[in-house]
Symmetry: C2
Subunit: 430 residues, 2 copies
């Protein structure tokens, strides 16, 4: 971990480096573009070719869809874990039912009724990473909010390298009410769900995390389908002033570092002594971690301790990072909240360890990474709902607004627009 | 216009054709990818090269930014039109202030405080098409909702082919409080705003319509910045049962057709006689239109009349199209509303001519096209706001949920996650 004493130059340098962290290279984008167009053209055949090449799996033998029997079997074999999955599913559903957007209408001075109407998307495709990084929590976090929103049908793609599949992932899919599951991964899975093939139904919206090829594919199909976000490596920022002991802060930082060699890990504190104690603890704890190699590399590459003079400067650092997760391990976290402009999820107080949010608190763990919290939101049921405008125009409204609309259309050279209003005005005077 | 008698096969054929209408080709995507990376690498120099090539404009002579003096001059020279621009700006602002998402919090059974917090994005880039298709309404529709949301700074790019710029566009930008305006268009303008150059500040979010290169560029920078939508050709669907005379319906259809040779124009009716009357009127009115050539081609290419047996079938057709605009020229439009699953903006009743929505009613005219209303929303202030999760965890909450989170983390093989919770549990027992 690098210790940075914060001044304007330090922040600027960091900002430049941070900004570039998760850009996808031109080479990857072009490679993925070819895969996407290949899947569009060749459909199932392309999916079989890529799955054989990347996952060493022959879909002609296994079939593309995972059968209901296989799902049932996985569920039965996960019996001990089912109650936890169900508790988590319930807590996610309970949280996501709050604050759902509602239809609204108002009547203006002319008696026009204007408003907004909310409807759910119909077909959702969830991507779930496979192999060793197969997480049942991902399945629940990406599907339950869609069920709350009223999505009609959910399909899921999960790569099964050499046929390997996590039973807990299948069990979670059953609990979440996923309708169909396919043995597909990578950019080809995203393309299949975006455009549809003989076997894979076209969906309206795709969500779920994945590697850089999946991220590139989601970016490239965006617009033809909706997308939750283009996710990059995970990150955490912690502001700590000493209310939590250094070994706990070290553990929180490491829990993020174990995700990914490219994970970002940031400690922001006013005390150099405290910073050094945390560093010492990190070294100590690292040695016993299962995922020591990954965590060490992340700490080395994207680990920073910022020494700040005060909490205002801490807020500046946070807003520069726009971190996915932010822990406020400070005496008065609620009064600090207003200073935070950009962060995906904010954990307040000494008991709010990030891993509770990752699994069980209720809020979503699918969060904007790499500074994208500047413009994007935590995954929620809103992602699966869309807004339409409603315009009932009264006779009085037409008479009052029509002439102005005609002038505007004429100024823009759209004469047919002007004529359409004129004709309606005539009618209303009939 | 093609007349289609609706049966299952007719709908299926139409659906296939419609689905493919606005896909962007691989060639265009690759071309635009090169422009984007060139702008990333060479910054202002690349912008100058492309502007010379595509707009025949030497930015070394004109400067990249349009000066405040030039804006003031355009505003003064637009004096007669200012009151209309201001009325429109006020109506847009008034509409968009309704239904803004609010922060919310609740306390669960353990005393955890969970919720969602809303904050605005800071830097917005608006793209405004230039030359002959320069629309002041576009400027107002894309900036006012952002001002309502509390965006800090708005820049705008508008191409000025051979130096040509619409005074009304500049006047609208002044009224909307745009902070800076640049003489830039095409994919290069989108890339400049997404990544920043020496002169163009990097923004967090880009909105506004454009040609296919602009649409491709928005798709390709999505994820590094937020994007309103990838817009394609405009379209209208009208369900008419005779309450409005054929010449009015014809005028409404033509007002959409004059936008773009690729515009989609759909009439859905149960009466073949009515359909033929509308067709006759279209031919009659076409001859006198300023944009006759464009409107004719659109009608020829993407003009359809669907003859349906009843309103339920009409709804099926609408939901297959998922049209940008939908006019319900039927006796009881409000009771029909529930059958409409996907449409960007719905116009109800005999006076609700689409052009009123394009200009002055208040709701936004930036709407999802080409069937993307299946998953995306009319532009609104929500696009410029983002949601963060809030998690305050109580001591009781940690004790109740912590052990389950540990089990979950262990099941996923994320042992550092488990350790972080364990350490906090120990602390809470101290």
């Amino acid at each position: 971990m690098k210790i940075v004493k914060v001044d304007a130059a330090g922040i600027r340098d960091f900002k430049e480096k941070w900004k570039k962290r998760q850009l996808i290279s031109k080479e990857i984008l072009k490679k993925v573009l070819n895969i996407i167009f290949d899947v569009q053209e060749r459909g199932d055949e392309a999916l079989k070719d890529y799955t054989l090449r990347f996952d060493q799996l022959d879909l002609n033998i296994t079939g593309m869809e995972i059968s209901q029997d296989e799902v049932e079997k996985a569920y039965t074999e996960s019996k001990e874990f089912i109650p936890i999955l169900e508790t988590v599913a319930q807590r996610i559903a309970f949280f996501h039912k709050h604050g759902l957007p509602q239809n609204w209408f108002f009547t203006d001075d002319y008696g026009n009724i204007l408003g907004q109407r909310i409807t759910p998307i119909e077909y959702l495709g969830v991507y779930c990473p496979g192999g060793k990084a197969a997480y049942p929590s991902t399945v629940l976090m990406n599907t339950i909010p869609a069920q709350v929103a009223g999505v009609k049908e959910i399909i899921m793609c999960v790569p099964t390298p050499k046929g390997e599949i996590s039973k807990l992932v299948l069990a979670a899919a059953k609990i979440a009410g996923v309708n169909k599951i396919f043995r597909l991964g990578g950019a080809q899975a995203i393309a299949a769900m975006a455009y549809g093939t003989e076997t894979i139904p076209k969906v309206d919206f795709i969500c779920g995390p994945g590697n850089i090829y999946v991220a590139a594919a989601k970016k490239l199909v965006f617009g033809e389908v909706g997308i939750d976000m283009v996710a990059g490596p995970s990150e955490i920022a912690i502001i700590a002033d000493g209310i939590v002991s250094p070994d706990r802060v070290a553990a929180d930082l490491l829990s993020q570092a174990e995700h990914d060699e490219m994970a970002g890990v940031f400690l922001i504190t006013s005390s150099e002594n405290y910073a050094h104690s945390v560093l010492k603890e990190i070294k100590k704890q690292l040695s016993s971690l299962t995922r020591k190699a990954i965590a060490s590399e992340a700490m080395e590459r994207q680990g920073y301790i910022f020494i700040v003079p005060d909490l205002n400067t801490a807020a500046q650092v946070v807003n520069t990072i726009a971190p996915e997760h932010l822990e406020l391990l400070i005496a008065e976290p609620f009064s600090f909240l207003d200073k935070v402009k950009h962060s995906g999820a904010i954990f307040l107080g000494q008991h709010a360890v990030e891993a509770l949010g990752d699994y069980i608190a209720g809020p979503n763990h699918t969060l904007p990474t790499g500074g994208t919290a500047r413009f994007s939101s935590v995954l929620s049921s809103e992602h699966f709902l869309k807004r339409s405008s409603i315009l009932f125009i009264s006779r009085e409204g037409l008479l009052a607004l029509g002439p102005k609309a005609i002038k505007f259309a004429q100024a823009e050279g759209l004469t047919a627009h002007a004529i359409s209003v004129k004709k309606r005005l005539e009618e209303s005077k009939d």
